[in-house]
Structures are given as structure tokens and as C-alpha cells.
């Protein structure tokens, strides 16, 4: 009782204490801890799960168990504590001096090397974590793709300050053109006939296909951008909405692309390393774009178009380039998406997709790379974790989003610069 009261008076007390306790752990430490945790899970996960009375390793941090089988909650909690939380915290805290030392050594090298080391660690964690279960693999891939998608929409809706509804359309263009590229050239298929090229060099050809997908959707963006950036106002919202419907309807009517039935038979080229590398590359390039002169011009256009014009910003050109840039990455994300599911049909890219992407952008936060990552990850995880609730899920997630909008109208982490050096630096 007393404890509760003191917590009410100092609501941030415990949290602050935890934060101060772990203040000297660099990101490297957390990654190493997570790596140890996933290795541990792979080694003894199954026997640990059995010992705690669980039939198998909980796939998603026990969330599915909490909602489906309440009797197993203590076991699942114990599992998450023993195999995820404890190893990470202990290794991060105990090894902090060592990791800080390593971090300082790394920081003597160029920033790129440091970043690559961190990313390699992150990839290793993902790889081992998804090794346990195929469900984890597909969920992680889709989550990474949605990060790219969210970030590219954030360029338009956050950095540029317009309201675009065209992302499902761009995604559809990307998904279909990448599929056309791979299915048409590399697969023996009844729709397009014999394979023209051998598919031994997926590593080379798939990125080419993705670039093609991105270019196609950037070209689609041009169709919207030219008329709608003549005037300021809400017309982008309408024209882009009409565009999404047009693309969807067009795809439904093109028989050689499978019409409403969709297109299947994509080769299994969206492997985890491929998705990971493309998404990291995308995030890096988009981050560079929004911090560049062009990105600053974009912010200026958003804040005051007339003033920006007076400061010699070519507002129309800036907007068109940024819009096409965002569409390019949406197309790439669509191409990856098609090759993860290995099936696309036009109804995937409808209003539901639009609501999902918009939710991710506005939940995470406008004008921020962190925000997009947080938004995409949390909405995807929530969507998966609440799956056992079935229809109730579609009440809980919207309610949560409404609350976020009411209390933080610009999203959770908005207007924050993504500073890699600050993120990775040693903490002591």
C-alpha cells in the first residue's frame, strides 16, 4: 500500500531508477545481451519451455499464450523472464565496462565501420531468433518491410506536410512490377512461358528487380505530382486517393497479370538477409535525404511555402522530387512484400492497407525516423500479439491510436533527428 502511494507521488521513480542503473550500457551491450539471449534460447529453449509446462517455445514473447491459454501465463512469464529479460539485462550490465571499451575502440574507426558492426550484430540476433520458428521469420520480414513503407510515407506526410493516400497504389505498382520482372524472366510459368534467364544469381537480379519496381512507382508518382502540386491544399489527398483506386481497379482488369485472382509463383528471393540489407539501406538513404539540403528545403516548404519560395527554394520541384523519392521506396517495399508472400492480388492494396500505413506513421510520430521505426514495429507487433482476440483487435488498436492522437497529436516520437553517432557512442 505504502509502496503504491509513493509510486503515485513519484510516478517516474522506479523507471528513473532503472534508467540510471542501466545508464552506462552502450547499445553494443544491449545487442550483445540480446545475441546471448537468442543463442541461449536456441540451445536450451525447448527444454526450458518443457520444464515450465509449455508445449513449445513461445513464439512472440508469450503474448499469444497470455491471451489464448490463461492457465499457462505463469509458465510463459517465467520463460520470457528467464530466456529473454534476465540474460539481456545481466550481460548488458555486467559486461558494460567491456562493451564500453570495445565501443571506444570501434569509435576510433570511421563511423561506417562502427555502424556496420552494430548492424551485423543485429542481423545475427534476427537470424538466430527466427531460426526457431517459421512464423517468426515471416513476421520479422513483414515488420522490416513495414518500417520501410512507413518511413517513405513519413517523407510525404511528415517531412513534407501533405496528406497522401497513395501508398497502397505505389506498393501495388512495385509489387506487380517486381513480380513481373522475376516471374517473367526467371520462372517457368504458364502465364509468361519459359524462363529466359537462369535464376542462379538472385543476389544480383533481385535488387535490379526492386530498382525496376521502385522506378515504376516513382513514375506513377509523377502522374500524381504534376497536377497536384500546382496548388497547395488538400487536393493531393483526393488525387492520391483516386490514384490508389485507379491502380487497384487497373490491376483487377489486366488479365495477363491474373486480374482479381492475383499473381503467384514469385521465386523465394526475399530471404531475411536480402530484406534486412534492403531495409537498412532504405532507412539509411531516406535518413540522409531528409537531413540533406533537400530535406531542409522540404521542411521549409511545409512550414511556410511563401517564405521558402522567398529563400530561393524551388518549392514545386522540391515537392515533386520528394514525392517521387518516397514513391520509389514504397515500390521497393512492395516488391519485397510480394516476394515474401509469394502471392499478390489487387485487393491487398486497398483501403485497409492505407489505414494500416497511416496508423503506423501517425502512431510513431511525424517528421522522425525513430518515430517511423517505433510506429511500424509497435503496430505490427500489436497486430500479431492481439491476433487471438480476433475481431476485438480491431477495436483495441484503433482506440489506442485515438488515445495517442488525443494526448500526442503528432505521434509518440515526433520531430526527432536520427543521430547515429549519439545512438552508438560509448556511455561512460
Amino acid at each position: 500500500m505504502l509502496h503504491n502511494e509513493s509510486a503515485a507521488i513519484h510516478p517516474r521513480g522506479t523507471l528513473d531508477l532503472i534508467r540510471r542503473f542501466f545508464a552506462n550500457v552502450p547499445l553494443l551491450g544491449w545487442l550483445a545481451g540480446a545475441l546471448a539471449a537468442v543463442v541461449l534460447e536456441q540451445a536450451i529453449g525447448t527444454s526450458l519451455a518443457h520444464a515450465l509446462g509449455l508445449p513449445r517455445i513461445p513464439v512472440l514473447f508469450g503474448f499469444l499464450i497470455f491471451l489464448k491459454q490463461p492457465a499457462l501465463i505463469p509458465g510463459a512469464l517465467g520463460y520470457v523472464l528467464l530466456s529473454n529479460i534476465l540474460p539481456i539485462c545481466i550481460i548488458a550490465k555486467v559486461g558494460a565496462p567491456l562493451f564500453n571499451f570495445l565501443c571506444r575502440v570501434l569509435f576510433k574507426m570511421p563511423l561506417l565501420v562502427t555502424a556496420v558492426v552494430h548492424l551485423a550484430l543485429l542481423y545475427a540476433i534476427f537470424h538466430i531468433w527466427t531460426d526457431v520458428n517459421a512464423y517468426r521469420l515471416i513476421m520479422l520480414k513483414l515488420m522490416l518491410i513495414s518500417i520501410l513503407l512507413t518511413l517513405s510515407l513519413n517523407v510525404i506526410n511528415g517531412y513534407m506536410g501533405e496528406f497522401s493516400c497513395s501508398h497502397p497504389g505505389f506498393m501495388a505498382l512495385g509489387a506487380y512490377s517486381a513480380s513481373l520482372f522475376t516471374v517473367g524472366l526467371f520462372v517457368n510459368d504458364q502465364l509468361f512461358g519459359q524462363a529466359i534467364l537462369v535464376s542462379d544469381y538472385a543476389v544480383v537480379f533481385f535488387p535490379l528487380g526492386l530498382i525496376f519496381a521502385g522506378l515504376v512507382s516513382a513514375f506513377g508518382a509523377l502522374i500524381i505530382a504534376i497536377p497536384s502540386f500546382k496548388t497547395r491544399g488538400d487536393y493531393l489527398a483526393i488525387i492520391s486517393l483516386a490514384f490508389t483506386f485507379m491502380v487497384k481497379s487497373l490491376l483487377e482488369n489486366l488479365e495477363f497479370l491474373g486480374g482479381p485472382r492475383g499473381l503467384s509463383g514469385q521465386p523465394d528471393w526475399s530471404s531475411l538477409p536480402m530484406v534486412f540489407i534492403i531495409v537498412v539501406l532504405g532507412v539509411w538513404i531516406i535518413n540522409n535525404f531528409v537531413t540533406s539540403t533537400m530535406g531542409k528545403a522540404l521542411n521549409a516548404v511545409r512550414d511556410d511555402e511563401i517564405a521558402a519560395e522567398a529563400m530561393t527554394v524551388n518549392t514545386r520541384k522540391t515537392k515533386i522530387i520528394a514525392f517521387m523519392f518516397a514513391a520509389f521506396w514504397a515500390g521497393v517495399a512492395g516488391g519485397l512484400f510480394a516476394h515474401v508472400l509469394r502471392f499478390v492480388n489487387p485487393s491487398t492494396f486497398g483501403l485497409q492497407k492505407l489505414a494500416e500505413v497511416l496508423a503506423m506513421v501517425y502512431f510513431g510520430g511525424l517528421n522522425s525516423v525513430y518515430g517511423s521505426i517505433v510506429g511500424a514495429v509497435s503496430i505490427s507487433l500489436l497486430g500479431e500479439a492481439l491476433r487471438p482476440l480476433e475481431i476485438l483487435k480491431w477495436i483495441i488498436i484503433p482506440l489506442l491510436l485515438i488515445l495517442v492522437m488525443i494526448f500526442r497529436p503528432r505521434g509518440l516520437i515526433s520531430f526527432k533527428e536520427f543521430n547515429i553517432e549519439k545512438l552508438l557512442k560509448p556511455r561512460s
Binding site: 496528406f163 487536393y235 485507379m246 482488369n253 483501403l351 475481431i391 484503433p398
Partner: protein, 309 residues
Amino acid sequence: MNLTYILQNVINALQWGSFYALIALGYSMVYSILMLFNFAHGDIFMVGAYIGFALTTALVAMSAAGVIVLPNWLILILTIILAMLFTSCLGMLVERIGYRPLRGAPRASAAITGLMIGIILQTTVLSIMGAQRVLFPSLIQTTTYNVAGVSVTNIKIMIVFVSIALMIALHQFVQHSKWGMAMRAMAYDYTVVPLMGVSINAIAAMTFAIGSALAAAAGIMYGMAYPILDPSMGILFGWKAFVAAILGGRGSIMGACIAGFLIGFIEIFVATIFPSTLRDLIAYSIIFVILVFRPHGLFGEPYSARLRL
């Protein structure tokens, strides 16, 4: 294609367009006064149809059980009035919960809450009514008149006339009443008008109430013409009506009505001339082209909006 055939489709298009026009009015009024997209409006239309369905079913059952015996035409009128009332309460609730707390926030955030409220409404109806479609009870015996080869049902005539009557009533209200004047003033400048003693909250609530009532009327009439309801019909109609509202021009009641009828005409005639799978593609392409050449809509005036983003 002969003249009768065209006339027949004109009548179908009038009916089809009147649904769009009635829903578009709700979007257009909210947009002109608060400058925001009420993305929940399509789902309010859907809920209105379901409220109408529940009321009709209840009243018919009561009549059958002999609790209160009412003739069918009275049930219809009662249903329409009560459903409009209940749905306007829902509209005001949506405004109070989803939009009023966000009045100082970026407009896009309010659009997101609207979208989410729409999803909540749809899920709620889905979980109450189940996924299967429900059949709207028919209250009026359908009579088909045959005028020079063109067949017209009494329901079609009623729908078109009631819609046009509602539009004229709204027009009179906005142009000739004190409340309507406040609404027009608010649409002109919503920062200064509150200083003149007009409560923006009252006007906003009233706008939502009127828009939702019109949507409910559209929902019931839709149920009478196409007696099958399902929870996703709000999305289908709502987004097209939204496009109609913008196509009509900001804050133009007449524009929203005409654009609603225009979309109805485009859809019906595209479906009669081309394969019906091409309907959306051609309809949206036409809208796209119209917007390219008239970016402010058919009847909207160019304005310089300083976006509150």
C-alpha cells in the same frame, strides 16, 4: 442504344447518385466548417442503415404482436425520423470524442482519429450483427409504373424526391436561418467568428448532427432500394462520397449534391457501356481529369489555405 434505354439509366443514376449526394453533404459541411476530413462519415452512414434496420424490425414485430398496430407507411416515417435522430446523436458523439479534443492539433491527426472511429464502428456492427448480410424488411409494396417503355418503381421516385427535398431543406436552413448564417460565417473564418459570440462547439456539433442525419436517411433509403446490408458498405460508399464532396468544391452544398449525382451518373453509364469491372477505373480516371483541370472542385472558389499542419 435507344432513347428508352438511356432514360431508364438516367432514372437509375438519379437514384444511385442521390445516395452519394446525401452522404457527400455530410463530408462537405464538416470540411467547410472545421477544415477536416471526417473519415468516419461513411461508417456513420452504415450505422444509420443498421439503426434503421433495427427500428423497422422492432416496429414491424410490435405491429405483428399487436402491441401497437401501425400501418406500414407510418412505420417507415417513424423509422426515418427516429433513425435520423439516433444517428445524429452518434455523429455528435463522434465529434465530441474524436474531433473536439484535437481541434488545436494538426488536421491530419484528426483525420486519423476519424479513420479509427470508422474502423471501431464497423467492428462493433460486425460483432453485433455477425458477418452475414441482413435483409432490410420491405415496408412498401413495390409498384412498377411503365411510362413509354421506361419502368419506374414507386421506391425510386420516393428516394429521388425525398433526397431532393432534404437537400432543398438543408439549403434553406443554411441560407435563411440564424444557425445557418453562423455556419456560413464559421466556414468563412473559424478563428474570428467565435470572437463574435458564436460557439464553435455548438456549430460543430450541429454540423455533425445534420450530416449524420442525412447519412441515416440515405442509409434507410439504400436499405429500401437494395435490401441487403453489410458492415463494409460504409467504406464503399463513404470514400466515393468523400471524393464527390471534394469534387463539388469546398463548402458548396450545391456542389456536393451535383458532384454526388455526377458520380452516380458516371458509374451507371460506365457500367452500361463498358464491362462493369472497368467501372471504378473509368470513374476515378474521369474524376482525376476533372480535378487536374479544376483543382478547386466544380463549384469551389480558389482559396489560400494556411494548413494547420
